[in-house]
């Protein structure tokens, strides 16, 4: 049983959960949105700075949540920094698929390293009720990029 749980709560997740990177609202923000998980009542906010060329210069978040959602948000902000909006969209879709489907996710070769890093979150597949915890930050970022103020996992 502990082995199964360690699959879910891998070291990387515990580390990002405890010491989230890019936490706090930065000065320069071009896109932002709030995300809400009605099941637990947790809220997070995602802040992006996208430049004129459509490249994410900086990504950050704040708010509270479980270890999974905090770690996922933290990893996401690291991974999307420096990516084009097209790449961010591909990562979002691939990540979503990784969390919800069983098979391997086909990915654009140039993003293979990023998907490898995100693999630590794939354990949520075994815990359907926790998938939303892992995807909340990504939905929120997506909402911010679509110009919506609010994302929920419902």
């Amino acid at each position: 049983m502990l082995d199964d749980l360690r699959e879910l709560y891998q070291e990387v997740i515990l580390d990002h959960g405890k010491n989230p990177r890019n936490y706090g609202k930065p000065d320069e923000v071009s896109h932002r949105a709030g995300g809400h998980n009605p099941l637990c009542g947790d809220r997070i906010f995602v802040y992006l700075h996208v430049d004129a060329e459509g490249v994410v210069r900086n990504a950050a978040f704040d708010g509270r949540g479980c270890a999974i959602s905090q770690a996922s948000a933290s990893l996401m902000t690291e991974i999307v920094s420096g990516k084009t909006l097209g790449q961010v969209d591909t990562l979002f879709r691939n990540f979503h698929e990784m969390c919800t489907s069983d098979g391997d996710v086909e990915t654009d070769g140039s993003l293979a390293d990023e998907m490898d890093r995100l693999q630590v979150l794939s354990g949520v597949r075994q815990y359907p009720i926790r998938v939303k915890c892992a995807t909340l930050a990504w939905h929120t970022m997506n909402a911010a990029l679509q110009g919506e103020a609010e994302a929920t996992t419902e």
């Binding site: 749980l5 879910l8 709560y9 515990l14 637990c40 479980c66 270890a67 815990y127």
Partner: protein
């Protein structure tokens, strides 16, 4: 919030004070309790959300469909008369369970939520004017907040909440001070679904009545664990839900004093709630039928009657004593564990312990306990204002039913060690 002080020691002494209560025999009445989850025995500590059903309830519901089912109040034929009789008997069982004065004071609803909405709309909503107030407490379940907000919103009235202290206890002085000439309704829970604290409902009702303000008591939790006497409480309305009382889901109860119910307009219109209908004018049936439009949950009401019979046969005092022993044991075991912080562990309590472990999020604790076969509820428990009051996002809640055991409390406490093993 302060660390709870254990009320009892862990030795077996208090066990012998309990009246004879054969919990193994009780467990054998609940088929679902013998199932496993993830290959482990189920340790079910979430009866506060919805309780498991004894064989007696399952059988009563099947027996209706197998042998006695028909629509009620509508037929001259044998089975319709028989189903109507069973439905009315169930209502009488509820009346006796609450010690209501009259059977007509018992209205069947879908659940507590619908019962509160009915009162908010057909009673309070009729009397609210702009600037009026509805007084609740900070303990309330969303079901006892949102219906009042809707009613208040339509009238330009406001909803206020009387504060609780750091242990979740209602401050009676502050409560009394908030009862003003603007207060048109008071509604509060009899037992907090988050903390298990029992409110001084009789005293609160008396204080409200001194100022002529009607009172609704949300008994969703208390009707399961306390012996409720609505005449002694003297409340105007009392609500509870069948599914937490070992009965079927989809059936709930509104008790209302007959003078109120008789003066109230219907909540919904339709069949079964009328006396006479023309396109020009309809006259309404008397309570309780006036508030039961359409075909009701016939088998649900009968199943609830069977659940009440079941609890009465075990003995409500014996059940309460068993649950109380477990609650004290759970409180003592958890407060002995390093890093565990209990919420609302003081004062009169019923069947619920709420806690956090270190700074681990309740959802993470819930997932880890679940893998050990231990079912608890985690999160805000539909009481977000109370979570805000304590400055937390949620808790882990273990709620105890009449079939739980000491071994299960031990399993809960022991499984919390896994949280430490993983989160360090």
């Amino acid at each position: 919030m302060s660390q709870a002080v254990a009320e009892t020691t862990l030795d077996g002494a208090n066990r012998s004070n309990l009246p004879a209560y054969d919990v193994d025999k009780v467990r054998a009445d609940f088929p679902i309790l013998s199932r496993e989850v993830y290959g482990k025995p189920l340790v079910f500590l979430d009866s506060g959300a919805s309780a498991k059903k004894p064989r007696a309830v399952i059988d009563a519901v099947s027996a209706v469909y197998e042998g006695e089912y028909a629509n009620i109040h509508r037929g001259v034929h044998y089975l319709s008369v028989r189903a109507t009789q069973l439905y009315d008997e169930a209502r009488e069982k509820v009346r006796a369970y609450l010690n209501a004065a009259k059977i007509g004071e018992i209205v069947f609803t879908r659940n507590t939520t619908e019962a509160i909405n009915l009162v908010a709309s057909s009673f309070t909503g009729q009397r609210l004017r702009e600037g009026d107030e509805i007084l609740l407490t900070e303990l309330e379940h969303h079901a006892n907040i949102v219906p009042w907000q809707l009613a208040a919103g339509r009238a330009g009235a406001v909803v206020r909440a009387s504060p609780v202290d750091d242990d979740g206890l209602v401050d009676l002085e502050k409560f009394e001070a908030m009862l003003t000439s603007r207060t048109k309704m008071v509604a509060f829970t009899h037992t907090s679904n988050v903390l298990g604290v029992v409110t001084p409902a009789k005293e609160m009702t008396r204080l409200a009545h001194e100022k002529g303000i009607p009172v609704l008591i949300d008994g969703a939790q208390s009707a399961v664990h306390l012996s409720v006497d609505v005449q002694d409480l003297d409340c105007d309305f009392f609500t509870f839900t069948g599914h937490k009382l070992y009965g079927p889901s989809g059936i709930g109860v509104l008790y209302g004093k007959s003078n109120h119910l008789e003066a109230m307009p219907p909540y919904q219109g339709g069949g079964d709630m009328i006396e006479y209908v023309t396109f020009e004018k309809t006259t309404f049936a008397k309570p309780p039928e006036r508030f039961e439009a359409g075909t009701p949950h016939i088998s649900g009401a009968i199943g609830l009657g069977a659940a009440i019979d079941y609890v009465n046969a075990l003995g409500r005092d014996a059940v309460a004593a068993h649950e109380h022993g477990l609650l004290q044991y759970a409180t003592a075991r958890l407060s002995d564990m390093p890093g565990v912080r209990l919420f609302g562990a003081k004062g009169e309590k019923a069947s619920i312990v709420s806690f956090l472990q270190d700074d681990v999020h309740p959802h993470d604790v819930g997932t880890i306990l679940d893998q050990a076969g231990v079912a608890v509820r985690v999160g805000h428990h539909c009481a977000q204002p109370l979570m805000d009051r304590f400055g937390i996002s949620g808790t882990v809640r273990a709620s105890i039913g009449l079939y739980n055991t000491r071994e299960e409390i031990d399993k809960l406490a022991d499984s919390l060690h896994h949280v430490k093993e993983i989160f360090g």
